[in-house]
Symmetry: C2
Subunit: 294 residues, 2 copies
């Protein structure tokens, strides 16, 4: 392996140390940043994510709560809880863990969150603001990807960024961010997806390749350019009889073959994942500050 | 010239005939579609656009009004007028002609329009809905480009669409539309702009090239692929002493050299321009119908 490892865990720790100081300052001003995470049902991956979010938030001094609701919670019940949180002045940040079960309309739920408390940045008005370059809550994973690049002195400006995946959570917002005429952006952006013919034709052109399509190891060594930077957002379980759990986690990138060719790459786990949580804390601090300023 | 001409004028007339029938049906239900266009100042290009919009709307039976305000109109005065229109049940559609003069914050004005009357689709919430694939008002020029392709049996699905330009009015919304996993979209999309290095490298790969950067004839014959489809959104004045007016209108594409190589191309004028107006009428009819259904 010749590639430099883009260590998201280490970086997230650094960012979180700085955030901890900010949180202490806010508390000295009698502002106690409050984050409430809502978890519906018992999706095992969601349970792990929510636990990690809460643990980190609590460690940094955030007034962090989780509301766990049974899988059969009605949409109206969920909307009523969000309404209470919207009106609760001690709650600056609300996060509804996705995905929700099929009987609930996810978008109706997202639309019901006060945009000023929407630290996931999924409310349409916050998405629209992001698109036109206005200050808003930037979705945590795309923001984490951008921070990971910039703090490793990788400037996307003028570079060809190829994003594999058009999800509402990663691919689409990341594209809208990196196209902007702004510092830390200004990239020529190509978005590929399941409808793309000859994916390799596009990925091989990437100066910066961002894989976020949720397919295990779909990006192989012959699909990347020598010297490229690769950010792997994927987290996929694949069977592994040698592992105790019977599976292991891999990204959307075939790490062994790709890391031979590229200049820098994120590990999975330990790359984008920890950055996502750090950005959630950052957005929560931002929400609390905005509340203080009002 | 070997390319087929994508005749936007003819197509817009066809679309407008169909819209005329729809408008007549609405009137039979006692719904009189109302569009109000606000023009601030006397930008000559804006005056021409507003005149064309109103003329077409009136011809098709829309209750069309223009409010012309002096260049020094205050932002508050403008906001008060929009507030009145938001509350006027006879007005289904509001369009503020852009650009506005420097003393007015364009985005504040756009944000003040009732999203249900925002037929330009520029309100952040409508932009956000477009990004996540929800039904909304799609900005008129990007919608016109998509319709122009589809009604000429050019399906963007699976094609590499290269958009030159990242404006809020054309490039950005068009990219978000064509990336969607939907009929009439599902393209691999590359967005180029003033920060792109080696523009020709990208434009030469386009199956469908959309030029919307506002630079006269920047796309030359050696920058396109044989057999590509080219949509020219640009309208630029260039000096022409042979012309009576002393200038003529050209697109962002050098028509003569490009039309030798490609399979199809829009003329300027008579390509995207008329489609934009047809889409404004279409959005106005949509706004009136939504009002009727409530």
């Amino acid at each position: 392996m010749s590639a430099a490892l883009l260590d998201g865990k280490k970086l997230a720790n650094e960012i979180q140390s700085a955030l901890k100081s900010e949180i202490e300052k806010l508390k000295a001003e009698r502002c106690f940043p409050g984050l409430t995470v809502i978890l519906v049902g018992n999706n095992p991956a969601s349970e792990i994510y929510v636990k990690m979010k809460n643990k980190t938030a609590a460690e940094l001094g955030i007034n962090s709560k989780t509301i766990v609701l049974p899988a059969d919670t009605s949409q109206n019940k969920l909307l009523a809880i969000i309404d209470d949180l919207n009106n609760d002045p001690t709650v600056h940040a609300i996060l509804v863990q996705l995905p929700l079960s099929g009987h609930i309309d996810e978008q109706v739920v997202i639309n019901s969150i006060n945009p000023l408390k929407d630290v996931d940045g999924f409310h349409p008005i916050n998405r629209g603001k992001l698109l036109i370059g206005e200050d808003t809550f930037v979705p945590c994973t795309p923001l984490g990807v951008q921070e990971l690049l910039l703090r490793n002195y990788i400037d996307p400006s003028g570079k060809h960024v190829v994003i594999v995946g058009r999800s509402k959570i990663v691919g689409l917002p990341l594209a809208t961010m990196l196209i902007q005429k702004k510092e830390g952006a200004n990239s020529t952006v190509t978005v590929c997806h399941t409808g793309t013919k000859n994916l390799g034709h596009f990925t091989r052109q990437a100066d910066i390749l961002i894989a976020a399509i949720g397919r295990a190891e779909i990006v192989k060594g012959d699909m990347v350019k020598e010297g490229a930077v690769v950010v792997d957002v994927g987290v996929n379980r694949i069977e592994d009889p040698r592992s105790e759990k019977g599976y292991r986690l891999v990204g959307d990138v075939e790490f062994n073959s790709v890391s031979q060719k590229v200049a820098a790459i994120t590990p999975v786990p330990g790359g984008v994942g920890p950055m996502t949580i750090a950005m959630l804390i950052s957005n929560t601090v931002k929400a609390a500050k905005q509340f203080l300023r009002k």
